[in-house]
Each structure stands twice: as C-alpha cells, then as structure tokens.
C-alpha cells in the first residue's frame, strides 16, 4: 500500500472568539482524493474550522499545511492560490448575471474579459462532471440546486483541487441530493479532495470515505465510513449513548382548529407565493409541513399569524371552548368560526386567540437581539396590565424559569440574546412560545441549530403540546424527523399543496417526489 498523501493537514489549530473557544488544538487531515465528512453538532466548530481554510478567519494558534507545505491563509485569495475552494451554505451570486458572468466575477486575469472563452471553459467543466447548467442562463432563472452547481463550478473554474461544501444538502430534495453526491464522486475520481460538512448521518454514510468528528470545539477522532453506523456516529458526536426514537402517540379526539381554504398570497413584487392552499390543522395533532426551502413555508405561517397579506381565500379558526355543533331554533349553526384574514397580530390577540409562532428568522422576527431574556419575554406580554408602564416582574420570572428548565447558557437574563449561541437563542424563543399555552402552536425549523439532545427535548415538548389538545404545525427540513414526529404531513411545492399525507404510512421517497411535483397546470 502506498503511503497516503495529505491534501490538507491542520496542526494544533485553536480559534477563540472572546472567551469562547470555537476550536481547541485541532489536528485534521484530508487525504488526497478522498471525501471526508466533517460531522458534529451545531456549535461544535465545524464551520469555524473550515472558514480558517477558506481565509475567512485566521487561527489564533496552529499551522495549516497544503500538500505538506506550510501556508498562510489570511484571505480568501490566499485560499484560492492554494487551490482551496469553499461552497458556502448561503450562495454568493449576482441574480441578474448569467452563470458565466458570476463565475468570472472577481477574477483578475490579464487582458480583456473574454466571456465567450470563459463560457466555453464553463461548458467543458460542466460536461466533465455532469453538471446541469447552461453557461448563459441567468441566476434568477435557476433552481436552488442549479445555483449551488454554479457555486461549485465557480471554485473549479478557479482551479481548486480541494473543495469544502458547507451543509450543501440543507436546501436540496432527496433526489437532488443524490445527484450532488454523484457529482462529488465524479470529482473524487478526477483526483479532487473534498470535505463535506453535514449533520445528517445517513448522508455521511452515503457519500464519504472517512468521517472526522468534532464535539464542542474538540477533535474527537475519525473512523472509516465502512466501519460506522448511525448509532455509533451519534454516540461519538454527542459523547454518550443517545436514543434516536421519537415517541408518537395517536392523536386524541382531533377536531379542526385551523382550516385554510384556497389561500393565495403575493409578495410585494406581485409574485405568487401561496397558490390555492387548503388544509386543516387539527387539535391534538402535529401537522408537518414539508417542502424544499422557499416553497412557501414562511409565507404560509406568516399568513396565519397575520403578518403576510392574504389576497384570496379563507383562514378559519375554531375556538376550543365553543361547541360548533350547537344550532339555534331555525337549525342554523349557532357559532361560526372566526376568519383570520385581514387581522394583524394585535387583532388576533385581542380576539382572544392564543397563537404561538416560532418564526424561521429568530433574531429578525421572533426576538429582539439587543435585549436580554427578560425583554424578549416581554414581547408577548408588554401590553398586559393597566397604565403606561410595562410590567417586568412576570417576564423576569418566566425568563428565569426558561433559563433553568431549558438549560439556557447565558450569564444573566439581561445579557443580549444576540450574543448567545444559536441553540440558546432557539431555546429562549421556543420556551417563550410554549409558555403561552397556545391553542395553535406554529414552529418553523424549531430544532435548527440545536444539538441532538435538545432537539429531542423539543420533539418531546411538541408531542406534549399535542397531547394537551393543541394544534401543532411543524415546518421541518429533516424528512426523517418529519416522518417520525408528525401525524399528517402537508407537502408544499412552489407555493402549492402537492399532497396531504399520513405521516405513519408514507415513505421518504414518496414525500421527496411530492416536494418536486407541481400540480397540473390549468387546475385554476
């Protein structure tokens, strides 16, 4: 056996942010021509470590070697000069430019810009690896997976032979993920070395040759993928044995709580974001919403919460304390459900509807970053009480309760939540929303940024809410979890409902297909 050559060797790398040690004395090797999975929970330091390879951060201590030569990577340009290219989670593309224009953007080449030649080269790269993009297609015309492809071609064009992909599958359907993995293997065959950051275990097992595991900024170790399974990887990631089962009791006496009928909504540019959406969320049930990122999940929840203008259709709310079967003398129903369309969040609250909402954008919508936990508790209660002054006692107590019960890591209830870690921010938000004792609880990506253990705590909390007879709407990105947690699943595709399925019987592949399946045109 010939000795392994290292494409990258990181030696004793330490990076601190203030008093937080994001990476502590990490030694990592990437062999030439292998696919390495970098596995770890959120906040374990995966992205920080990779950002030091791509020149975004500079290590406090330690040395990086590329092909066994010591190098200094102080800027993204240094990274490119060393053949390292990173594909970030968030695309950095100019929407109105074509693929080729985006790819050559920022390149310093001698002489005049020759777009034709560049386009030719882009085409060659695409053919070589099996990419499915047209060099002259504009970015705004592309699907998410095509945009990602442009990012990959961009680093290949620059001659990278070491590629780092930061959670590339987060925005992809299962089918698109398979395609990406095929491409990754093509690149591997061509002699490229790849690192993929992910926390989805089955993908790790699927695509990589070797897995390196980080936990809380420390390097735990590596294993050959063929010697690993989901449970062993999880145990290494978390540091102890974790049960990966979600308890899913049968719903008790589900009755309609929230009924959507033909809801259609447009954004401010007049683009249709929700297209004739109809479904029912029952009490005592977890209703999952599945779909590729940007299929209308955000607009859907915000429409219900009164934060997004609904153009057509009805959103009806059935009060749990009202018997809708009652009729008056003429046989007409005595009570009618409340229509939420046209209400703003204040109207909804004044109407006596306890609606909780964990939005996707935590600091941009659910919380005030500059305030501490107490101030953020006040977001739900600031109007309470007579007089012009706010009551801080109640919120302070609630903040202390959540601090203890959910083990939020923060120096005090006054410490700005913006400066907490993502997982703790999420705990503050989810804790507050559940504390409202809602009739309807809507959560968008409730476990994003949480470690495995806390994620399971949240799943249990949601199930607890369901068993208390609350209608839980769970927008999720991890299909495995959706299939284990939810009673029914609404699948969204391009703002339309492409299916409402039973969470107990449906398979992942079927949901994956629905996620890309537009309804037949002409149905309107």
């Amino acid at each position: 056996m010939e000795p392994v050559k290292n494409a990258i060797r990181m030696e004793n790398i330490t990076k601190r942010f203030g008093s937080v040690v994001a990476n502590n004395g990490i030694n990592l090797e990437l062999h030439e021509g292998e696919i390495l999975s970098l596995l770890g929970e959120n906040g374990s330091g995966k992205t920080t470590l990779m950002n030091m390879l791509s020149g975004i951060y500079y290590p406090d201590e330690g040395q990086i070697y590329v092909h066994d030569k010591p190098v200094t990577i102080a800027s993204p340009k240094d990274a490119f000069d060393n053949g390292i290219g990173m594909i970030h989670q968030h695309f950095k593309l100019v929407d109105v430019f074509t693929a080729t224009e985006n790819i050559v953007l920022g390149l310093e080449e001698e002489g005049r810009l020759d777009l034709k030649k560049a386009g030719q080269k882009v085409k060659e790269i695409c053919e070589k690896y099996g990419f499915d993009i047209q060099p002259n297609q504009k970015i705004y015309d592309m699907s998410v997976s095509q945009k990602q492809t442009v990012e990959i071609v961009k680093v290949l064009y620059r001659g990278a032979d070491i590629l780092i992909l930061d959670e590339p599958t987060a925005v992809l359907t299962p089918q698109e993920t398979d395609k990406l993995f095929a491409i990754m293997r093509n690149m591997q065959r061509d002699g490229k070395s790849l690192i993929i950051i992910t926390h989805k275990l089955h993908e790790v097992l699927d695509v990589s040759d070797r897995v390196a595991i980080l936990r809380k900024g420390e390097y735990i170790g590596d294993v050959a993928t063929k010697d690993a399974n989901q449970q062993s990887l999880t145990d290494m990631m978390v540091g102890r044995s974790v049960s990966l089962n979600i308890d899913r009791p049968l719903p008790v006496n589900p009755t309609p709580r929230l009924v959507l009928e033909h809801v259609t909504a447009y954004d401010e540019l007049g683009v249709k974001r929700l297209d004739d959406v109809s479904f029912t969320a029952n009490s005592g049930e977890i209703l999952g919403i599945a779909g590729v990122a940007g299929s209308g999940q955000k607009e859907l929840l915000e429409s219900i919460a009164g934060l997004y203008p609904v153009k057509e259709g009805k959103i009806l709310y059935y009060d749990p304390d009202v018997d809708y079967a009652e009729t008056d003398e003429s046989g007409q129903p005595k009570h009618r459900p409340l229509s939420l369309v046209g209400m703003d969040p204040m109207d909804i609250r004044k109407a006596g509807i306890a609606m909780s909402f964990v939005p996707e954008d935590r600091l941009g919508m659910g919380l005030v970053g500059t305030m501490g936990m107490t101030g953020n508790m006040m977001l739900r209660s600031w109007r309470k009480g007579k007089g012009v002054f706010v009551d801080t006692k109640g919120p302070e107590e609630l903040a202390n309760r959540i601090w203890k019960e959910l083990e939020v890591v923060t120096p005090s209830t006054k410490f700005p939540v913006r400066r907490m870690s993502g997982g703790n921010v999420q705990k503050v938000l989810v804790g507050r929303e559940i504390a409202q004792e809602p009739a309807v609880l809507m959560t968008a990506y409730a476990v994003r940024g949480l470690d495995i253990n806390t994620s399971y705590t949240i799943y249990n909390l949601l199930t607890e809410q369901k068993m208390k007879g609350r209608a839980v709407v769970y927008v999720g990105e991890d299909l495995d979890v959706l299939l284990e947690l939810c009673d029914r699943i609404v699948v969204l595709c391009g703002g339309q409902v492409s299916g409402v399925v039973d969470g107990r019987t449906i398979t992942k592949e079927e949901v994956g297909l629905l996620m890309t399946q537009h309804r037949k045109e002409g149905a309107e």
Partner: protein, 370 residues
C-alpha cells in the same frame, strides 16, 4: 524548493466574547478622552507653537471661568440637551430625524408670536401657552414626515431635512414681519421693558439665577424621557422597532402608529427647545436661533446611546468645547478652524473608543490571553 515564509498578520481584531463591566467600558472612554487631549496638544504645538497647557487653560476659562460664562455654558448645554432628548426616541426607533433645526425654529416662532401678540397675559399663563404652542408647532413639523413614512414609506431623512429649509424660510418671513426697529432686518429683543414671556429669574438678580428655569425645565424633560424610554409600554415599542421592524409586527406592535406618535413626540420636544431658546435665552428670534444645534444634538444623542441621563454629560462636553474654542480663537488670535480641529479630534477619539469597548486587538506574535 523555494521556502515560503509563513507570517501572521500584524494586527487582528476580534469581537469581545462578553460584555465589559461598566467601569471598564467607561475607563476606555476616559482614556480615549485623555489621549485626545494629548493629540490635540501636539496639534496645537505643531500649528501654532503655543503651549498646549496654556491653551487648554484658556479654553476652560472661556467656558466656565467667570460666573457669567459658566451660566451661559449651562444655558447652552441645557438647550442642546433638550434637543438631544427630543431626538433620542426617534433615533432609537431608527427614524432618522434630521429635522430638529426646523422643529426648533417653528417652536421658536410659536413662542415669539405669543410674546408679541399675547404680551398682556399674566406671566405664568403666557409662559404656559408659549410652551404648549411650541410643543404643538414642533409636533406638527414632525407629524408630516411621520405620516408620509407610515403611509407611503417615504425617506424620513430627506423629508425632515427639507422641512428644515421650509422652517428657515418661514422664520425669515416672520422676522421681516416683526422687524423692530424698522429697517434693522432683525426682530430685536422682544418686550425689552416688560419682560413679558421671559423665563423669570428664579434666584436673585444678576447672573446667579437667570437661567435656573432653563435647567429645571430641561432636566424635568430629561428625567421624564428617561422614564418614558425605559419603563413605559411605548418606550418598549420604540426599542423593539429600533431593533427589528419585523419583530415589532410579530409582537403585535402597530409600527406605523408608533412611527407617527414617536416623531410627533420627538418634534414636540425639539419645539420646546425652541421655546427655551427664545424665552429663556435670546428673547428674540432669527433664522439662526437653531444655529446648527439640531445637528450637534444628533452627536450628543448617539454618543450617549440614547440614554437621556448620560446626554447631560455629553451636552456639557460639547458646549464646553465650543465655548473654549471661541475663547482661544479670540485670545490667541487663532483662526476658529484650530478650535474646530480640536473638537473634531476629541469627538473622533470618543466615537472611536466605542470600537475598543466592543472589540479587542491582537498583535502579531503575542499569545492571546485566555
């Protein structure tokens, strides 16, 4: 093989992990202030060859050296503080009220008009009406940009700025109308004999108490604003909107309503500053009654991070610098530019110190302390 030299960048900035304790943060600011004095001193030597200690002493004498100069400094600091307190809620809400100049002027016009047309009323009643009308006038001047922002999402920076020019032209019109004596192109002292509409001397004759009422009124407004911003429901709304409009909507805050309400409050207090400037200081009105203080107050409000109590310190600092600058300009026959350079250096250091409150700097080779 060519050996590539590995080197670390000379300087690196890193965000502080935790909040500095207040005494440390204030320590950094005080050090910055002292450093700014040293640098100013060097600049003074370089451009004029004078002894910086003597120059600073002259500044201090000019600002607070005599009973009279001290009261004038207090008076001007109070006016500036009043404007800054007025601007605070708007800026905290990230509503860029650049229109304090105009709001001061219309408040001043309202006060002057009362002094001229209602001079027969008893003192207390007249002063009350003056204060109220100036509040209303300033409020109206804030209302328009607020309404347009809420209704059509117009840019409040441009709108409030334009309202300034409107107010200046309006003032010019009234100055011409109230011209006294005829042909002087100024209003002159209003009610020089009866002192109707002048804030009365609270303590005794002379310079001991002429401006005591200014202090009382403005400090009362300052404390009220502090309570409003930190303890009231509306103050909470302002904080949330300033951080994120989407969060505010999510929390059920009626953002547009809060915009209009807050800018009215902001404009009204700036209008009240116009009243204080006319009734409590100049007893006259001109197009320079605001005199750029509407802009200086923005610096005060930001330096104090909208904490109205902290604004007291910065108002005094800025007025002190201004008065001191005038003193060195006249006693050393220096151009006013030199003193403005000094003010600029001090402000530069004070604003720059905020960076070091939030970040640390690592030097090459030095081990990073835990």
């Amino acid at each position: 093989m060519e050996h590539k030299k590995v080197h670390e960048p000379l300087l690196r900035m890193a965000k502080r992990g935790e909040m500095l304790p207040p005494w440390k943060a204030w320590g950094i600011r005080v050090i910055a202030f002292l450093l700014s004095l040293i640098v100013s001193g060097l600049v003074i030597i370089a451009v004029s060859g004078l002894n910086p200690a003597a120059v600073f002493a002259t500044m201090a004498r000019g600002a607070v050296g005599t009973n009279k100069s001290m009261w004038v400094t207090i008076r001007d600091a109070m006016t500036l503080l009043c404007i800054a307190v007025g601007l605070a809620p708007a800026f905290k809400m990230r509503f860029w009220n650049i229109g304090a100049e105009g709001q001061i002027l219309v408040g001043a016009i309202a006060s002057a008009a009362c002094m001229i047309y209602l001079n027969k009323l008893p003192t207390f009643l007249l002063l009350l009406i003056m204060a109220l009308t100036s509040l209303i006038a300033g409020g109206i001047w804030g209302l328009f940009p607020g309404l347009f922002k809420a209704r059509w999402n117009t840019n409040e920076t441009l709108f409030t700025l334009m309202m300034n020019y409107l107010a200046i032209r309006l003032t010019a019109f009234f100055v011409a109308k109230w011209e006294n004596p005829f042909g002087s192109n100024s209003v002159g002292i209003i009610n020089p004999n009866t002192h109707a509409g002048w804030l009365p001397n609270m303590l005794s004759k002379g310079w001991n108490g002429d401006y005591a009422w200014n202090v009382v009124i403005v400090l009362a407004v300052t404390v009220a604003m502090y309570l409003y911003m930190n303890k009231s429901k509306q103050g909470f709304e302002i904080s949330v909107i300033g951080d994120s409009v989407n969060t505010a909507r999510y929390a059920g805050i009626r953002v547009n309503r809060a915009y209009v309400r807050t800018i009215i409050i902001s404009g009204a207090i700036c209008g009240l500053a116009g009243f204080v400037a006319v009734s409590g200081a100049s007893h006259s009105i001109s197009t320079s009654t605001a005199g750029g203080r509407g802009f200086t107050a923005i610096i005060v409000a930001w330096l104090a991070q909208f904490n109205s109590v902290v604004m007291v310190i910065f108002s005094f600092l800025l007025v002190f610098l201004q008065k001191g600058a005038q003193a060195i300009a006249s006693s050393y026959n220096l151009s006013k530019d030199v003193s403005e350079i000094i003010t600029g250096i001090i402000l530069f250091f004070l604003l720059g110190s905020e960076f070091f409150v939030n970040y640390t700097v690592h030097f090459r080779g030095k081990k990073v302390a835990k």
